[in-house]
Symmetry: C2
Subunit: 212 residues, 2 copies
């Protein structure tokens, strides 16, 4: 189902009536041989969201599937560079990411997003933007102590030192998904195992076929 | 060339050092067999931007190419629904469309946009976001009297009646591109002829190959 109603582009030009079919969402699904969906990765900083999402993309590419990853690298410095970290900006940040994910779904892509997105209400807002079945919550479930021991960007250290305020897991809540569609535990499985598990679930649910 | 620098997703998990290749822009180009680019359609209301862009998409799909169209239908009611028509909002509207177009280019797509975008400075702003060769201005050149005679949405009538202020071509300027990469004249060629002309130029410029 296309998330967008598209207008008919019919009319009269040079006294000739023309009717132009637009490329439909179904055309894009057929071309790409997959069922477009948002894989919304959520988890603590350092939980492995981006890394697993990248590994999933590599597996999807090997299967000839078309995907795209939205994360801090390509969103925070571009579309959302005008936003800070106030509550209002946090909500707007997630809203825009959701709307862009929806455009990618409309275009036929499998979209992966990798943002901490700690609040249930924000994730629900994105789910509500999309049609049923077009949003899968992927909970990258890694205990705080494991994330803090990894601390790949040194952010936990800074947060503990009081140099970063409102840091998720330290002095700001992380609201875990209660019923994520996909649940991986990186303290018990390797990155590759988690990625394989996610792709297997996509396959089982029919998303890697165009005729789901 | 990818418009984004991507971080290396290497690190230590479970005492194992892992190195994960991300799917690169070049991988996406190779997969889709095309050189990603923004086709930025500009022209008066009623000039035929959306219709021609739709026809171009149909031709590209028939050639197995992957494209997506950003226009009022899928942007104004979604990502940019918080924006009005003030000068500041107009600039922000085009900025966000440019940033989203850049994401689609990064994903490997040929992106078409169909917005009046009357001001040179706004179009230049988007061009500056992208690497050289990733932005092609497509001037849909239709005389005002022809657009007004077509008036597919009845907007010129309303503007003449004073019901819409700042309407491009009536009481707000349209700054035509001085050196558009592609220039079509709908008063002298049919929609299909214009679309064929655009695709022929893309082909001649190498955009329909992955090894441009």
């Amino acid at each position: 189902m296309s998330p967008y109603e598209r207008k008919q582009h019919d009319g009269v030009v040079n006294d000739v009536v023309w009717h132009h079919a637009t490329v439909t969402h179904q055309d894009r699904v057929k071309q790409k041989g997959q069922t477009p969906v948002v894989l919304w990765f959520t988890g603590l900083s350092g939980s492995g969201k981006s890394t697993i999402a990248n590994a999933v993309e590599s597996l999807l590419l090997a299967k000839g599937k078309h995907s795209y990853l939205l994360d801090g690298d390509n969103v925070r410095h571009g579309l959302n560079k005008d936003l800070g970290f106030s509550d209002a900006d946090r909500v707007e940040n997630i809203r825009r990411i959701g709307e862009v994910a929806k455009l990618f779904v409309d275009s036929g892509s499998i979209v992966l997003t990798a943002f901490i997105s700690p609040f249930i209400v924000d994730r629900q807002q994105v789910r509500d933007l999309l049609a049923p079945g077009q949003f899968l919550e992927v909970f990258v479930d890694t205990p705080l102590d494991v994330c803090e021991a990894r601390d790949p960007k040194g952010l936990y250290k800074k947060a503990r030192a009081g140099e970063i305020a409102h840091f998720t897991g330290i002095d700001s809540a992380y609201e875990a998904p209660s019923k994520p569609e996909i649940h991986v535990k990186t303290a018990q499985a390797s990155i590759d195992e988690c990625a394989v598990q996610i792709v297997a679930q996509l396959e089982a649910l029919g998303y890697l076929r165009g005729d789901k």
